[in-house]
């Protein structure tokens, strides 16, 4: 039986062999691997890029105090970006499953329509959820737009849900029973993390503080974006720092959501505020890296 970490290593090796840079996780909280600059910003513009990285993705509302065998506040995504998507991208993807020991002739693989959309990022794509024996193991997306901008090269994004994939391979009913490394279960590594953050996210996070956090980061991002047009030495301008503010806002929003502090009506408005920041950064980034001003 392959351990969690071995499967991660094999997938990284597989994609490294296919020309991917192996990145490390981004060190700011994100709700999905897509939000990392390595995806969100790199897919913009005409420059080819290939990258793979594990990204712990935090979704505070999905936490279950480590009591639910399948739901996690933080799960590990393996994110692969192939820009532009090669014509045999589906075959390459299936090859990655074989590389971790799945004999696809003995399993049932289906590609079921599932288009991806992130209103907060002004991003969407066309694709599938990949089902293996009835389990969704990967989200496969051809990006079409990011930050409200039509993409020059259409990247393929493969997002593997590592816990599910490994639970499938190891035949465990609970993610907590996964063997992470020899002698160490997923529970050994992560149970405290899930429990304590569930308590924080649902019970103890201070709503007033979170609103302040949200607004501080929003203001900081707005300040930077306002300075961008007149800044002379464009290459020096800290757009990457501005983008970190977007991620901070997004995470604060998710925490507020899990605290039940956001009504359905407010929700739309706040998503629009974050999107405005994300779109602003994306368009400036495009200009910074290509010299082109987005229409």
């Amino acid at each position: 039986m392959e351990s969690f970490q071995n499967i991660v290593l094999k997938l990284k090796q597989y994609w490294a062999d296919r020309g991917c840079i192996i990145q490390e996780p981004y060190d700011v909280e994100v709700g999905a691997g897509t939000m990392c600059p390595e995806t969100f910003l790199r897919v913009l513009g005409p420059k080819p890029y290939r990258v793979a990285y594990i990204q712990p993705s935090r979704r505070p509302a999905d936490g279950r105090y480590a009591e639910n065998p399948n739901r996690l506040y933080k799960h590990q995504q393996l994110q692969v970006i192939l820009k532009p998507s090669p014509s045999d991208v589906v075959e390459q993807y299936l090859g990655s499953l074989e590389a971790i020991g799945i004999d696809l002739r003995k399993h049932d693989v289906k590609f079921e329509e599932d288009n991806w959309e992130s209103p907060t990022l002004g991003a969407w794509g066309i694709g599938w959820q990949v089902m293996m024996d009835g389990l969704e193991i990967t989200q496969f997306t051809y990006f079409q737009q990011c930050g409200g901008v039509d993409l020059d090269l259409v990247p393929a994004e493969l997002t593997y849900g590592m816990e599910r994939l490994v639970a499938f391979l190891q035949g465990t009913d609970s993610v907590y029973d996964i063997e992470w490394a020899p002698g160490f279960s997923y529970a050994d590594v992560r149970r405290a993390d899930e429990l304590q953050f569930s308590v924080y996210n649902f019970e103890m996070a201070d709503i007033a503080t979170l609103w302040q956090v949200f607004e501080l980061h929003e203001k900081e991002c707005q300040r930077l974006l306002a300075a961008w047009p007149d800044y002379k030495e464009k290459q020096r301008f800290p757009l990457l720092a501005a983008y970190d503010q977007v991620l901070k806002c997004s995470h604060a929003f998710n925490l507020l959501d899990s605290r039940g502090a956001i009504s359905v009506t407010e929700r739309v408005g706040i998503i629009a505020r974050v999107r405005k920041l994300a779109v602003g950064v994306a368009q400036a980034y495009l200009e910074q890296t290509t010299g082109e001003v987005a229409a």
Partner: protein, 653 residues
Amino acid sequence: MTLDFLLEIGTEEIPDWMIQPALRQLREAFGKLVEENKLGGRVAWVEATPRRIALKAQGLADRQSDSEELVMGPPAAAPAGAAAGFAKKQGVSPQSLERVTTPKGEYLAVRKKIAGRAARDILADALPGLILGIYFPKTMYWTGKGGPRFIRPIRWIVALLGSEVVPFELAGVSSGNTTSGHRRLGATSFAVTIDDYEDTLKKNFVLLRADDRRRRIQEGIQALIAERGLQVKPDADLLETLVFITEYPTPILGEFDASYLELPEEVLVTVMRHHQKYFSVEKTGGGLAPNFIAVMNTAGDPEGLVRQGNERVLRARFNDARFFWDVDQKKTLAARVPDLEHVTFQAKLGSYLAKTQRTMTLVGELGGNAAAVRAVELSKCDLTTELVKEFTELQGVVGGLYARAQGEPEEVARAIYEHYKPVSMEDSIPATATGRLVSLADKLDTLRGCFGIGLAPSGSSDPFALRRAAQGVVKILVEGNLELPLAQLAGGDAQLEEFFRDRIDYYFREVRGYPYDEVRAAMAAGFDNLPDLQRRLEALHIVRPTENFEPVAASFKRIKNILRQAGFPEGEVDERLIEAGPERDLYDAVARVSGENLPEIASLRPVVDRYFDKVLVNAPDARIRANRLAFLAQLLRKFSSIADFSEIVTNGL
């Protein structure tokens, strides 16, 4: 010489529900292409799997026949310079010009021979546009910005006319004679001919024909359950989905722990059907069995790995459902009412709490009892439960189940359970009287509210599903035999009343199948009371084929025309001015016959016919004329309470 033609567009996996509309378009577009280019032949079939859309045509001409075209020039009488100029422009010598006689005189003309083009060239030019012209609801680009758009990337194209490739390029793919098999069981690339195409695919684990895949699924299922005393819950939509999501479908039978059968059947079936695309299985004697049928896109599962995988997934899903059910029981529906304040119904219309309060008043006005009011009060509370957040399609159903589990009276629980019904025109209305009132009140509140703030549906845009809500209202009133005045239900909103009129017309025509003129005739006599409208319409429909009815209807139309020409005069009938004979006969007959008895009205035919035969309505004497018009107006009024017969379309009149 005629040739067969084969086209296969090889793609990545196309969403199942888009495939059949695409095939219909392909058939039509190709038919049009060969017709416009006079290539003859016919489309033999169109077929598809998730990874290929294919068409075969037979009997195409290998080239168009040569044709002639006559290009008209100047009149023969024109100066010589004009003739020379025309000849030069057409690239012929002046001597070769012909004289053609037309109705306008003699003209010069050039007879040009147009060589027919080869079918292969015509197809090569036209196919890229034809393929990209297939409409899909949501397309993508994949070769880069500005590149072609299609439903999913095109990866190969087979285009064969006879034994030759029809050469063209699309999205960087060159057409050829090689295709691809099942992703893992078949070869990645192999050549085909038109004749061996289907068989070669089959050897590579692709069943091209939807019928073959459907049969394989159905026969496979029968083989799995036949001797186990089980039967499958029929589900035609799910079957079609599975037919178009697979290239080589094989069903397998899975099991789950019988303890999950304690969960409501609705929850189990929803998980299996909507989330896992499984067929539910019942015991022959009735009741759900702890089994499911999954359909794989592969040839078999000899080691049981696929079955075990699916069983594990289902177990996790059922565990979730059970977990949510238990968590939800910690707070009753009644205790959740205040929480509805935080669930927005519509920005301007407020929260679900506000909606609930409005609907509670409304259901009372409609005649609902205390149970109906209680059902409304709790009807939206399940929106705050974990189970509905997870399985939104179970809203209402979950509320009903929880109400029952929490000791609410059965009448209340049942009404909550059914209050979204009917969800379509085919769906049944709530089974209980209380359920019907609750459903009506819920829908009417939505309709009144949305119309009140200017959200009436326009064109295809109907985000609040108001058409469905209004259709539901109509269906409940008619089939539930509820004599509630529609104008009052519309709350005095003229636009909403008009909206209802369209829904009523649609319901009786499309759902109930009445001819449009009968619907129109019956509605013209009023549609405020729908059960009454239903009875009148049915009476009209029964009398319609009888011998005398249509002629009488035609006479009524004639009467209406006469009155219209006279400007619909008003006036009382003076019996003393009625002449003995046909006029008196009709007068007496009208007085005798009930205005609500259609067979009797139809029986007036001979008297009416004789009247129009013998009596001059537009009599020279103004007093007599006015009296006759007044009489006809009275007659028409009397016989229009069931239907406006002049709306009936009659033959030859």
